[in-house]
Each structure stands twice: as structure tokens, then as C-alpha cells.
Assembly symmetry: C2
Homo-oligomer: 518 residues x 2
């Protein structure tokens, strides 16, 4: 085994056989091995990585040109050792070690579930998903892909929903630059041979997102092929081998989330047993338990299943009005991410012509319900570059308002936003004894009389006083209200202010209040 000495590797693209890797970074063993026959089918390779009795045992993969790789994302600092196992002697028994050092600034580790309905990075930093949708942005060629990354660098989005396979659909008739299998489009594929160039490109894009601090919500299957390339109707063996190959390549990227499918219920060639089996493959072969879900069209998957870390829901009306979005917290007791709620745009289809106001309203609705909402944009474009499918640039007016909301949530709600009094006051979210956001949605009140549910008061001292700010969610202003409001109990359910002072509001829609202890 040849070990090149390198400096501490950046976490994003691994240098093979590095001696130092940061925590949650990516270490890679690269080995030379057989090129004859079919390395994808004939060669088995894995490695055991160990540090202080803590171990991962990921599978490796063939990267073409006689090079085999095994990747590991170390999650504890210290000296890691490794040893490979293979059915081929050239690849078997390679050993070595590397140092896992402290993470660099900005590396908070992978995302995991926090307090049932929320998320955090592995270092404990809260993570609030404000995602967007660019289904096949990695299949648009260097120019648009670079443009997409530039756009994302200045957008508020910290999660991107993106497909592995190319898409064939309205506004998506172009062929991709790379194909996942050797062969020729549209259907002449050797499903026994992956094309490493496809996967190298895809994982480079995942790394590009990581460098921007963006989670890659990777959609493993989708129905927008309809047999044109046939990736939506491969055999069971091919499906399973594809999943293992992808996991071997990608699981060590700490920003990876697995979405088994988009609109799984539209994939006629797959059965529920297939989805359960795919979930099993992901659970078995991803040693890091990255976030896992599956996305529906008309029919929900059973998100109560233990493999599902969060519900990745499509619903066109749940975040339209108060009292809806939070209902799905009850059956699932997991984070609810409304990953498709229609899109801001101007296509004729009603799923793609929300106003910017409505898109922003829906994200607020989700947040105030203790859930999360993913953005998407479908403005018609002369070259058919719609953000929702291809990326490019954003044309809409919602992203900066989503950025504004994201800042408010991040600075206000370290423990997330939950309904405070869920059957009574559907406009209020926060944490009892800590902080509150009150959203008025499409109502246009001209004043608000201070009132908090008794349930909000647990943890505050008697006579707690509050600071109120008026938030214009569209104009993106935050105006402090003069004076402090003191909460007194009034009956069984409410705390109000003795003096009954009114907070003036401008009589326009999309206003909110931030209420925090003084």
C-alpha cells in the first residue's frame, strides 16, 4: 500500500491516504487492484476503521482505472487504525492509521435529530432546515452548475433536495453530461458497470455544497424517467448494487441525507417491499446513520417506521393556514419537513405558481407550527432553466424573506419552536419560560393586546416582564415596542398585562411579534 504524506486534508474532497483528517471530515484509502473482468461485480472490499474501541466498517468501491477506495468519516478525535478485507489478495489486509484532529471552524458535524421535532449538528449547534429544491442541478453542465453554486453561496438555503439520476419532465428535456452506467443513451446500458465519472462528478457537487455549509438531501430514485433511460425500472439486483455503490462513495460526506425517492408512490415499477428493502440497505451500509426519509406524492409512506429519521412530506395545503402543519407532529413524533408545498413561480400548473408572498407565508406557517418548509421556484425562463429543476439563478422574492426568517429563528430559538398551547393558540410558538414568536398570517390587525397562555409561563418568575418587537415578515423590519409588559395571571388559561396596553400594528398582512423576557 502506498501512503502519500499530506497536510491536514480539507474535509471536502479527500486526499487519499492522508495522515491527518479533521473530525467529521473524510479519510480515504486508495489501493491499486484488478482491472480485469468486471471489478464492480467481482471484487468485494471493505475496511474496518477503529479508534479506542469505536469502529466503522464501510464498504469500498471501484473508481475505475484500477483504483479502489474505502472512505471513512471519523467521528472521534484520536488515532484511527484501519485494515482492509477483500476477496482479492491485492486489496486484502492493507493496514494503516491516521490522526483525527479537531474540526475546523464551520465544521459542526453531521445533522441529527434534536428534541423529537428538531435538528442539530453533531457538535450541538442547532440546525434549522431552510431548504430549497434543485432536482437535477448536477446534470446541467459546468456553467449552470457553477452558477447554481454561486447563487446558493448568497442564498439562505442550508439544504438542497437533489436527485442522483437525471430527470426527464416538462422543462427537462436535455440530456445530462454524465450517465451512471457504461453504455449509450437512451437505453443501451451495461447495468453491471457503473461509470465512475458520473459518480465523481456527483460527489464533487456534494462536496461543493458541503463547502457552502449546505446539506445535500440526496434523492436515490425518482419517477421522472418514465423508462426513457430506464433508471426508474432497473432490476432488483441493479437497484441494490447501485445503492451500495452510492453509499460506499457518499456516506462519508457529513452533509449527506438519504431520501429514498421523490414521489415514491408514482414509481409504478417499485413495490412497498422494494422501499423497505432499500431502507434496509441504507441502514446496513451507511455506518454513520445519516438522516433518512422518503418523499410522497399522493400517498404517504409510513413515517413511523424506525428507519425514518424525519418525515419528508409533500402536501399542497398543510402550510396554507393555521392549525394544519403541526397535526402531523402527532402521528410521527419526528421532525416534520414539508419538502414540497408547491413552488413560487408562474407556470400554468397550480403546483408552480405561488406568489412570493404565499411562499414566504408557507415557510412561516410551517415554522410557527413547529415544522419546517422547503422552498422551490418555478419561474418560466427562455432557456427553460427553472431553479426547481436545474438551478441557475433565483428570480423570486421569497429567498431574502426566508433569509430574514432564518436569522430570526437562529437568533431567537436555540431550542426550536414548538406550539405552546396547541389546541388553543395556533399562532404562537416558542418554548415555555424562554421565547415566543406570534405570527398573524393573512390577518391584518391594527393592535395586539398582550396575552400569553398560562402554559407559556412555566419557568418564568412571578411578575416576569417581556420585551416585544413587531416583525414585518415581508418588508423585513423589526421594530421594538417601547416599554416592558408584565404578565399577570387572568383566569385558568391566560396571562395578560394589568394595564392592558395595546401594541400598535400596521393593519397589513404577514406581521409577527417576537416576545422575549426582558
Amino acid at each position: 500500500m502506498s501512503t502519500k504524506s499530506t497536510e491536514s486534508t480539507p474535509s471536502i474532497q479527500a486526499k487519499p491516504n492522508a495522515q491527518k483528517v479533521e473530525r467529521w471530515g473524510l479519510f480515504e484509502i486508495a489501493l491499486e487492484g484488478p482491472q480485469t473482468r468486471n471489478p464492480f461485480l467481482d471484487v468485494r472490499l471493505s475496511a474496518r476503521f477503529e479508534c479506542d474501541g469505536h469502529a466503522f466498517e464501510p464498504e469500498g468501491f471501484y473508481d475505475g482505472d484500477g483504483i479502489y477506495r474505502v472512505r471513512c468519516s471519523p467521528d472521534v478525535e484520536g488515532t484511527w487504525t484501519f485494515a482492509t478485507r477483500s476477496n482479492r489478495p491485492e486489496l486484502d489486509g492493507a493496514t494503516g492509521s491516521f490522526e483525527c484532529v479537531a474540526p475546523s471552524p464551520g465544521n459542526h458535524g453531521p445533522v441529527r435529530v434534536r428534541r423529537t421535532f428538531h435538528f442539530e449538528y453533531a457538535d450541538g449547534t442547532p440546525y434549522y432546515p431552510f431548504g430549497t429544491t434543485c432536482y437535477v442541478w448536477t446534470h446541467q453542465g459546468e456553467k449552470i452548475e457553477k452558477q447554481t453554486l454561486d447563487t446558493l453561496a448568497h442564498a439562505p438555503f442550508n439544504k438542497v433536495r437533489m436527485c442522483v439520476f437525471p430527470k426527464r419532465y416538462s422543462w427537462n428535456e436535455n440530456e445530462p453530461e454524465f450517465y451512471p452506467f457504461e453504455g449509450a443513451p437512451p437505453t443501451d446500458w451495461d447495468f453491471g458497470r457503473f461509470d465512475p465519472a458520473f459518480f465523481r462528478h456527483f460527489e464533487r457537487r456534494v462536496g461543493d455544497l458541503l463547502a457552502l455549509g449546505i446539506e445535500a438531501d440526496i434523492i436515490l430514485f425518482h419517477p421522472y424517467d418514465k423508462g426513457y433511460w430506464g433508471y426508474d425500472r432497473m432490476t432488483r439486483d441493479t437497484d441494490d448494487r447501485y445503492l451500495r455503490y452510492l453509499i460506499a462513495r457518499l456516506a462519508a460526506y457529513r452533509n449527506v441525507w438519504w431520501s429514498l425517492a421523490n414521489e415514491f408512490d408514482l414509481m409504478r415499477a417499485k413495490t412497498m417491499d422494494d422501499w423497505h428493502r432499500f431502507a434496509g440497505i441504507v441502514v446496513e451500509h451507511d455506518p454513520y446513520t445519516r438522516m433518512r426519509s422518503i418523499h410522497n406524492c399522493r400517498t404517504f409512506y409510513d413515517y413511523t417506521k424506525p428507519w425514518v429519521t424525519h418525515a419528508s412530506v409533500q402536501n399542497g395545503s398543510a402550510v396554507e393556514d393555521f392549525g394544519r402543519a403541526g397535526l402531523l407532529r402527532e402521528p410521527y413524533e419526528k421532525p416534520i419537513v414539508y419538502d414540497e408545498v408547491k413552488y413560487e413561480g408562474n407556470v400554468a400548473h397550480r403546483w408552480g405558481n405561488l406568489s412570493a408572498e404565499e411562499m414566504v407565508h408557507r415557510v412561516w406557517q410551517g415554522v410557527i407550527a413547529g415544522t419546517y418548509v422547503t422552498h422551490g421556484e418555478t419561474y418560466v425562463h427562455p432557456d427553460e432553466v427553472l431553479w426547481w429543476a436545474k438551478g441557475g439563478v433565483l428570480h423570486g422574492q421569497s429567498p431574502e424573506r426566508i433569509a430574514f426568517l432564518r436569522r430570526i429563528v437562529e437568533e431567537t430559538a436555540p431550542d426550536g419552536l414548538d406550539p405552546i398551547d396547541k389546541w388553543q393558540n395556533l399562532r404562537l410558538a416558542g418554548q415555555p419560560g424562554k421565547y415566543f414568536l406570534l405570527y398573524f398570517g393573512k390577518e391584518c390587525p391594527t393592535e395586539w393586546t398582550f396575552e400569553l397562555p398560562t402554559k407559556a409561563m412555566a419557568g418564568f418568575e412571578e411578575g416576569a416582564r417581556f420585551r416585544v418587537e413587531v416583525i414585518d415578515t415581508w418588508d423585513m423590519t423589526i421594530a421594538p415596542v417601547e416599554g416592558l409588559l408584565e404578565a399577570e395571571p387572568q383566569g385558568m388559561y391566560i396571562y395578560a398585562c394589568d394595564r392592558n396596553p395595546k401594541v400598535a400594528l400596521p393593519g397589513k398582512p404577514y406581521m409577527a411579534l417576537r416576545i422575549v423576557p426582558a
Copy 2:
């Protein structure tokens, strides 16, 4: 074995060892057996009932005074034979037969699930649950219990949520007439010995409901004891024996539904494993697969579990406004019954002071969402006889409006009401190509322009014409609109009427439309 010859037995209270029983009626073997030691613990008894290779094998039970019984509800017509099994020779090997004859008028059999979200009787007659809540009406003594039955005989309710155990709670401080175990209140119980008088009384009430065509939604455990009698914290063995005894006595009543608990999540002495075990006992020992669910307070049970036939949900806001109630159909794909949505009444607690208008509105909201809603009433009463707990008489104004709604549903919707275009038009329910109800809730429109979603039109011929009626859900009137409206496609999503005729509406809340093909 002594077999008394009797006439065809009414289905309601079985005459032991009858020769004729109607389909879905109740046949009972009565045997004399040991009275020494403890028959409840020492004696095992069951019987195998068979007709044409179709068989049930229920457990029997000791009814006191040396009498043992085994009950069977035959579900096919023909000659049934039976043979008992017991660990006591006096009870073992008794054999006999009876004729199962056609059901009498009004006997439609037990209720089962129909088309995923709805219900029907075993003979195929649709069953729309319009239930009410009288938690401990069977523990109030003959006078009030008779009064309750008289009230129910003239009320619209076809399901009653009712507890086996007595309740100790606000407005419920009275001791019951019967106790389930031998001993003395409050806590001096011999949990090894049931008091048959208690169960005989309870099952008589179940039979009284059956005679009125009312399903008995029997709540097996509840938290409103708090250790006073201790029925909420019995040992595992006692719990399990109690369940088997109750099932042996009651399962053969075709109007029985099993609700494992009310507000199960408030029962601190029980674990999730207990609930799963109770479900297993019900599944194992009820040979008829009666309807099964469990009712929550703050935390939902996992209604996706296979033993659950329908979700029996408490939620104080899901049926308050459009677009909420139907959301729970997605995760469960089972009938959703909002069995507690707050109550019509005037107690200080917010769970019990809905206006009658709000109660009726909530039932309509549920129905228009493709779900069902249960009534309850909590008007304060000089003798503390609140309908919700004790029965008695109804004081509210919602029951007659619920009767009106029930009639509309029964005459309009043989296939139930489902959302037609669930992300777009949350006011409309019905069946494509068949019939529709449109509910305006608290909106007060003065006119309606004919429009139906394209999804509604599947199954109609081109140029289908519709008859519209204006329904005042509060004043209980149905006014036909003159003329027929012809549906023409207008764009991708809508059918409207070329002439654009407007239907006049009175500008008041709680109006609805019935739209059916002419």
C-alpha cells in the same frame, strides 16, 4: 348438559341454549359447574362452534352461582354445532347444535371498515358514526340509566363512548351501584374474584344500546380513578384476566367496539408495552374482530399498528377550521374518528364550553374532511348530571342539527364523503362522478358561482347537469335552487357553467350546498 328448548331468541339478551339464533345474534351455552375454591382462577372453559368448516373458539366465563357460560355470535346462516373444552370434567365435552337463521329487520350485523376511511355493517349497509360520549352512564342507577336510554332513543347518536370502570372526576364523585370485583370500596378488593352482578348489569346496558341500534364503544381502561378504587393500577395479571373475562362476556354482542383506553397517555401506571399486550389479548380472544382502537390525550398512540381498525383521536382544534381534519387520513389510511373535540356546554374549562353552533360546525368540518366527529355535552346541572359523564337528558342545541346532518349524509353519500381535490378545495367532499357536499363554515357568502374541480367530473358524461340545494345547517332547511347547472371544462382544473349563473346565499354562517347530478 341440560338444554332448554326455547323459541327463536331475540338478538339482544341471549336465552341460554336456544335452538334458533339469528345471524349476528347471540347464542349462549349455559352449564353447571364447580363453585368451590375460585372458579374465576381455577376453571378453564372454551367452546368450538362450527358451521360448514367455519369456526369460532371463544372462551367461556363463570357467571356466579355455579353457572358457566360460553357465547357465540354466528355470522353465517345454517346449522352450527359446538363442543366445550374445559379442565373440569363437568364442563368438558358438552356438545349440541343450533340453527342460525336470517337476521331480523334492523339487524345489519357488526360494523367493519369500508373503503379505507369509512364504515359499513356486515350486510353492506353504510354506517356513518355519529357518536356521543356518556363515559359512565351505566354506573348511575336505574333511574338515570333508563332516562339515558330514553334520551338516546330519540337522539341521532349511533355510537356511545362508555367506560367499563366507574369514574372519579369533577362532577363524578358518586359511588357506582356495582363494582367489578368482590370486596368493598374504596380499595378492599379481591382482584381474583369478579362480581358477576357488575358485568351482568354492564352487558345488559350494551344490549339496551343494541336494541336502539347504537354501537357501544367500550373503554376498557381510563385514568379517572387516580387510585381511588385502584382500577387504573391493577397488576398485570389482574388486567389481563379482566380483559379476557370481559371479552368472553361481551365479544358476542355485535355492537361492541373495543377502545383500549380513554386518554391512555395519562395512565401513569401503564407502559406502551402494556397497551401493546392488551391489544394482543383483544386480538387473540375476540373471535369476531370487532372494531378496535385507543384514545389519546396529549400523545397519539401509533394508529398505524395493524391491530388498530380506526384512529380514535382526541384533538381540540383539528375540526375547528378547514384543511386540518383530513390531514390525519394520510398517515393512517384508516377511518379517522375525532372522538373528542371539546364538548358543547358551559363549564369553566375550555374543553367543555363550546357553543352549540361550534359543536355542529365541528361535526360538519369533520364530515367534509372525510372523517367523523363524536358529540359530547357538558352543561352544568344542579345534580351534577352532565351528559358527557352520566347521561340523563340532553340540554344542548347541537343534537337535532347533528340528526339533520346525519340524514343528509345517509341520503346523499352511500359511498361516504371524501375530499375531491384535497390540496385545493377543502370545502368540498363527495365522490367523483356521484355527489358532492360543499360547506362554507363560518364564511357568510351571499352568492356562489357554480364550479367543480375537474377531479370531480370523472364518471360523468360530457355536459353533465347538476341539481343544487342550499342547506342551512343551523336552521335545518334544504332549499332547491331553480334550474339545472351544466358543467363545462374551464382550463386544467375546473369545470364551471357557461352561463355563469350565481346561486344566491343568505350571507350567514354555516351554510352548505348539496350538488348532485340531475
